[in-house]
């Protein structure tokens, strides 16, 4: 397992040197960004089992605040990152208290409602650019603007962020927090009977998840330099996080990265093959993936590979015996 992680780390570090050119560089950055967002979603939706379909709220806040501080006060967008995280945490706490009274599908539906509400409000609010959205600095004024022509600097920034999130998640997964999250996912009533303060641990998961999702949104805005209500707060933003994590394996450390490594190149290919019209095709593809996962392998590719591994192990044992 340790060697596996080392191999992944080396591959990711070398990627921009092996696959060069703007197309692959941008695809690599997109891949890592999708992995960051999915890993952030995975803390709440995977480990703690609370399926949020409204994480676009935090992604959108994270994307908007950096460009907002630039547009209104000409500050470097980077300064908006911690501000965005703080706003996201506050919003998460406000949303969390009432929605965590709901369980299962009801929780998911409530998160969709909140996200759509926020999207519509943002789309009609002139201070945040209404339906048009916000722009970042067209020409970098200093290095602090973090505005690069090539995608490679973003790639390495994203890689560092992803490594930090995965390291923290791995640490929490091993400790009491991780055990309590998994117990909550498996059965709240039983968890409470063993003294697990369910509300508090769900809130912890939500805050961590929201904070990192906000960070992902900020990184997106820094790289793209432009946000509008649909690209930051749209329901597809939430859906992409879920599909990425679910395809790899919900509640696993590697799942989000694995899901992103498959989905992002797939999306880049369909978009380049079919042009703008390909974006519609991408969503048909998403629908197909959801169907296949729900029907055949809710545990995602990680679970599938685990099953194949144990089966071949059993076969090998049977042959030896």
């Amino acid at each position: 397992m340790r060697w596996g992680w080392l191999a992944i780390a080396v591959a990711l570090l070398l990627y921009p040197w092996i696959l060069t050119g703007p197309f692959y560089e941008r695809m690599g950055a997109d891949l890592l960004l999708a992995a960051i967002a999915a890993a952030a979603w995975n803390i709440l939706g995977g480990y703690a089992g609370q399926i949020s379909v409204g994480h676009a709220v935090f992604y959108g806040i994270g994307a908007y605040v950096p460009l907002l501080v630039y547009t209104h006060w000409q500050l470097p967008p980077v300064l908006g990152i911690p501000a965005g995280i703080l706003v996201s945490l506050a919003v998460a706490a406000v949303i969390g208290v009432p929605t965590f009274r709901l369980q299962g599908h009801y929780f998911s539906m409530a998160t969709i409602a909140v996200a759509e509400l926020v999207r519509i409000v943002v789309g009609n609010w002139d201070f945040v650019g209404a339906a048009i959205g916000l722009m970042g600095p067209a020409v970098p004024r200093s290095l602090l603007d973090l505005s690069f022509k090539s995608a490679v600097p973003y790639y390495y920034i994203f890689l560092a962020v992803l490594a930090a999130i995965l390291a923290l998640t791995a640490h929490l997964e091993r400790g009491r927090m991780g055990y309590y999250w998994r117990a909550i996912r498996a059965g709240e009533r039983a968890a409470r009977s063993l003294g697990v303060p369910v509300r508090r641990y769900k809130l912890w998961a939500l805050l961590l998840s929201a904070g990192f999702t906000s960070l992902a949104g900020s990184l997106y805005a820094l790289m793209v330099g432009f946000v509008d209500p649909e690209s930051a707060f749209g329901i597809l933003v939430s859906v992409e996080m879920i599909i990425t994590a679910a395809l790899g394996g919900v509640g696993t450390l590697l799942g989000p990265l694995l899901g992103a490594a498959i989905l992002v190149p797939l999306k880049a290919t369909t978009n380049s093959l079919f042009g703008g019209g390909g974006s519609g095709l991408t969503y048909i593809l998403y629908g197909g993936i959801i169907l296949l996962l729900a029907r055949f392998e809710p545990g995602g590719l990680i679970e599938l590979s685990r099953r194949i591994a144990t089966r071949s192990l059993k076969k090998a044992k049977a042959r030896a015996a």
């Binding site: 091993r174 400790g175 009491r176 055990y179 309590y180 998994r182 117990a183 498996a186 059965g187 009533r189 039983a190 968890a191 409470r192 009977s193 063993l194 003294g195 697990v196 303060p197 369910v198």
Partner: protein, 243 residues
């Protein structure tokens, strides 16, 4: 008294499921709750564990009021429970299931793991330690639930039909396990249908019928109590006559 319940009632809408239940439980006792289906024993049980709040009445545990405390507060104070339909954490390994319980008193992972290992061994699940809980059958799951609640180091365990659905051999094994738990100084309240279990384990029995406690006393005496015979056998005799 370790546990005192005074005039505990619980209504669901206009239906009074439990009316004025009384229980005084000394440390180290094993008390059985029996009665026909719908007699109110599960309602009473859930009021004791904090899963249901009584509509009226008071419950004291070790001298402090727990009438409206949450289930997690009950666990922290030292009241553990199992479920009628085992609620094991299916995807987690047996050891990990028990660790969730152990984390209550041992926040550090290493200590929780050690404590959980000892309990898993005590419950005779050592060999299956790394298997996922879903690989167990009903008897294994019930055993795992008991191990899990033991790991939370309670003073009182509420067992909700922990022996239902077991075959005679498994029942004997489970009775032996409950005796060993009792020998550790843990007080027990047992809801059970199987008379054999009640007779061999409990020192005192509370009989429920139609939301009320109709009798209480030593299990041997209870079996001959007219109200109990009426509640249990009387119905059956009447039914037979009707047929």
């Amino acid at each position: 008294m370790l546990l005192e319940a005074h005039q505990v009632s619980r209504a669901f809408g206009s239906f009074l499921a439990l009316s004025g239940a009384e229980l005084e439980l000394a440390e180290g006792e094993i008390v059985g709750l029996i009665g026909p289906n719908g007699a109110g024993k599960s309602t009473f049980f859930n009021c004791l564990s904090g899963d249901l709040q009584p509509t009226s009445g008071r419950i004291l545990f070790a001298g402090s009021e727990v009438t409206r405390a949450t289930p997690e507060a009950h666990a922290r104070l030292g009241i553990g429970r199992t479920f009628q339909v085992p609620a094991t954490f299916e995807e987690m390994s047996i050891l990990d299931n028990v660790m969730v319980g152990a984390f209550l008193r041992h926040p550090a992972r290493g200590e929780a793991r050690e404590a959980a290992r000892r309990i898993v061994e005590f419950a005779g699940l050592d060999r299956l330690r790394d298997q996922p809980a879903r690989s167990l059958g009903t008897p294994g799951r019930k055993r795992l639930e008991i191990a899990r609640v033991l790991a939370s180091e309670p003073r009182l365990i509420l067992l909700d039909e922990a022996l239902a659905g077991l075959n005679p051999v498994e029942i004997q094994e489970a009775i032996a396990l409950v005796r060993r738990i009792h020998a550790r100084g843990i007080t027990l309240v047992i809801v059970e249908h199987i008379m054999e279990v009640i007779l061999s384990l409990t020192g005192r029995v509370l009989v429920f019928n139609q939301g009320r406690t109709i009798a209480s006393g030593k299990p041997r005496d209870i079996v001959d109590h007219p109200a109990v015979i009426e509640a249990y056998l009387g119905q059956r005799r009447q039914r037979r006559r009707r047929e």
